[in-house]
């Protein structure tokens, strides 16, 4: 099962490599990974998605918690949560396809943020599923480049991941 684990990490050199190293060292898989500093400059927030049964996920969270630089950790997928992935995509857009692709972007509530005479650059925010669906919906259009941030997430309601 897919899980979203969010971590508050000491914003120090080498901290990220310990997290990433743990996954390769113990044979776990990272599907996506996003990391950036928080409003507190001493902390980074790292969100990753991984897959595994309950026992594997339990081991992953326990092992992550053992890292000295992991300050706090939450498995967002245990409760109600919001998740977003940002897509930047370049697609070939010429002739009748220009209008077709624009319609598709509008339906998915994306934005065309740059154009040339032959291509569009599209921005789309949504769940990973929505972005997958958008890419599939582009159908025959020629996708030239895809850049995705990977999942970032936050719990719904009053639950807060902070010190």
């Amino acid at each position: 099962m897919r899980r979203i684990i969010s971590i508050l990490l000491e914003n120090e050199a080498g901290a990220l490599s310990r997290v990433v190293g743990l996954f390769s060292q113990r044979g776990y898989n990272i599907e996506t990974l996003t990391v950036a500093p928080t409003e507190d400059p001493t902390l980074s927030r790292l969100t990753l998605t991984t897959r595994g049964d309950d026992r594997v996920i339990e081991q992953i969270t326990k092992q992550l918690n053992k890292l000295i630089e992991v300050v706090k950790l939450v498995d967002l997928s245990e409760g109600e949560h919001l998740e977003r992935d940002l897509l930047l995509l370049k697609v070939k857009a010429v002739g009748p396809q220009r209008e077709e692709i624009k319609r598709c972007v509008d339906i998915f509530r994306g934005q065309i943020i740059d154009i040339t005479s032959t291509l569009y650059t599209v921005q789309l925010v949504g769940t990973a599923q929505k972005i997958d669906a958008f890419i599939a919906a582009l159908g025959e259009a020629q996708i030239l480049e895809v850049a995705r941030t990977g999942v970032s997430g936050i719990a719904r309601g009053e639950k807060i991941l902070a010190l």
Binding site: G14, S17, R18, G21, Q59, K66, I68, V71
Partner: protein
């Protein structure tokens, strides 16, 4: 306010931390620190002949005392040579602080001379690591390193210090940090009361209980509490390879080591138990055999300081995260206050079953199939000659298992071996680290002609610092455990397990200025050992020729349950 250079701060900190000995090897990036070391006398340094040996010396000291061992090396090869020793300590949860020089910070990343990414290389085998970025943070970084290494589940910590952090002319205010607080590191101070009660209920309701204790009981200072709990209940106790000595080996309630080469009765009791209390043990694959067939009828309670050790390979019913000592004390109080007592009838039946199992194998081995000395006999003789009270270190292989099986350890911290990583070359330097710190104690390294050659250069260090350890070399002319596996699994094709061109160990010992004694007849064994241990101020290398055909038994049948064992070359359960 005192002003010190970074290099002086390193040494001054070690003084203030109460470190008596450090083990190491100088080199370019560590020279400022070595100069500061030279200009004082409180911290004593042992110059090894290879940095790996420095880590094992520190490790041996740490295992014997529970306090962190300290290593000082230079950058590059000095640092990489410590990796095996760091990994050894990591796998067995041993507190250690390794201070490594590094090239000047402006050269980092340039592939400078003797530069290596020590932080990167050591990452998977350390509890934590630090890279010093400003000289004035050295005292606090070192304090954090000692704190992390020695609290919670102990482990090795590396401190990487670029040379320009230790420049002699740049002085900074020094204050010894009495305390340190880390917001993201708070090891549990006690176990959950409700869980402890559940474990007590499980134990008191048991018909066929077993207490299974590991190295965590020794490093957690809980040997006495374990013994009291076991005595209070009258239940059988088995120890892991790392846990030997936590419960007295000569006590009738002790049923031997468990696992791959555990005693028949310990493995049988494990398989048939209905309640298992695991304490400071980690259900290692060398203990459990096939995890799916492990203790099929048992309800399991597990006490460990490290939550990640609990339900890692074997799911448990009552997890207790906490320091084993305090949890055991709370259990003892609950049991003493409880109106429920252990089921005496059930326990009587359980003990009579265990005693039946004891009769079946009981550690017997054949002596009539050869005129050669049996390795087991050597350990039994060693036990007698040292009155069962020596510090015994070992290397890795058959000799290690024989020592674990036949030397009965009555005290914790006396049996020193590389259990998790299985590091050949560990035993001799570990013995040196212990002897140096306990000069009045008898310290012997049980080894083989394979393992001893992995750190034999330290014979020179022993001469320089007068470290009179005793080396008990069980010489069977081959890598015995490899050979045994080849006998059992590869139709005796002894692929590269035979050591040709062995040195004359007697002459070798003498060349380093020590005493060597060769033994190849049974009747000479005990008198020779007596002579060896009578020479209290000399390192004696006992080269004892033993039967190369001997195997270690019992031995788990691969992929079986705990009760599936070979008991001899021809007999299996």
């Amino acid at each position: 306010m005192e002003y010190l250079s970074g290099a002086e701060m390193v040494i001054r900190f070690l003084q203030d931390e109460g470190v008596e000995y450090i083990y190491g090897y100088p080199g370019g990036a560590a020279l400022h620190i070595y100069d500061a070391l030279f200009r004082q006398s409180r911290v004593k340094h042992v110059l090894v002949r290879h940095e790996q040996a420095a880590t094992h010396m520190a490790d041996g000291y740490a295992r014997a005392t529970g306090k962190p061992g300290v290593v000082l090396v230079t950058s590059g090869p000095g640092a990489t040579n410590t990796i095996t020793g760091i990994a050894t300590a990591y796998m067995d949860s041993i507190p250690m602080v390794v201070i490594a020089g590094q090239v000047m910070s402006h050269l980092i990343g340039d592939d400078a001379f003797q530069e290596t990414d020590m932080m990167g290389i050591c990452r998977p085998v350390v509890k934590h690591s630090f890279s010093v970025r400003r000289p004035e943070e050295i005292p606090l970084v070192l304090k954090k390193a000692f704190h992390i290494a020695s609290t919670g589940r102990p482990g090795p910590v590396v401190v990487d210090i670029p040379k320009d952090m230790t420049t002699p002319s740049e002085k900074f205010p020094y204050v010894y940090p009495q305390k340190v607080k880390l917001r993201s590191y708070n090891p549990p101070q006690r176990g959950h009361a409700g869980q402890i009660r559940k474990a007590v209920d499980l134990l008191l309701g048991a018909q066929r209980p077993v207490i299974y204790s590991g190295g965590g009981v020794i490093m957690g200072g809980a040997a006495e509490a374990l013994t009291r709990l076991a005595k209070l209940l009258g239940y059988p106790v088995t120890n892991t390879l790392m846990g030997l000595g936590a419960f007295p080996g000569t006590d009738p309630q002790f049923i031997g080591m468990l696992g791959m080469h555990g005693s028949y009765e310990a493995n049988m009791a494990m398989h048939h138990c209905d309640a298992l209390l695991a304490i400071g043990a980690r259900f290692d694959d060398r203990v459990t055999n096939h995890t799916g067939k492990f203790c099929p009828q048992a309800k399991i309670a597990h006490i460990d300081i490290d939550p990640a050790s609990i339900s890692k390979t074997i799911p448990v019913d009552v997890p207790i995260v906490g320091p084993v000592e305090s949890v055991l004390r709370e259990m003892i109080t609950l049991i003493e206050e409880s109106t429920q007592k252990p089921d005496a009838t059930a326990l009587k039946g359980w003990w009579s079953q265990i005693n039946e199992w004891r009769k079946r194998h009981g550690g017997r081995y054949r002596t009539d199939d050869t005129t050669l000395i049996k390795p087991q006999t050597v350990i039994e003789a060693l036990y007698r000659v040292t009155d069962g009270d020596a510090y015994i270190t070992s290397d890795v292989g058959q000799h290690q298992m024989f020592a674990a099986q036949y030397y009965k350890f009555d005290k914790p911290h006396r049996w020193i071996n590389s259990g998790g990583l299985g590091t050949m070359g560990f035993g001799f330097p570990a013995a040196m680290g212990i002897k140096l710190n306990f000069p009045d104690q008898t310290v012997a390294c049980v080894t083989g002609e394979g393992s001893i050659q992995m750190n034999i250069q330290e014979l020179s260090t022993c001469m320089q610092y007068n470290i009179p350890v005793k080396i008990i070399n069980l010489n069977n002319g081959s890598l015995g455990m490899v050979r045994q596996w080849q006998d059992m699994n590869y139709e005796s094709r002894h692929s590269h397990s035979y050591m040709e061109s062995l040195p004359d160990f007697i002459k070798l010992a003498e060349a380093y200025g020590h005493v060597g004694i060769r033994v190849d007849r049974r009747e000479d064994l005990e008198p020779a050992l007596e002579r060896c241990f009578a020479m209290k101020d000399r390192l004696v290398f006992m080269d004892i020729y033993v039967d190369p055909e001997e195997h270690v038994y019992p031995m788990h049948v691969p992929q079986g349950s705990m009760r599936d064992m070979w008991l001899s070359k021809t007999e299996r359960t």
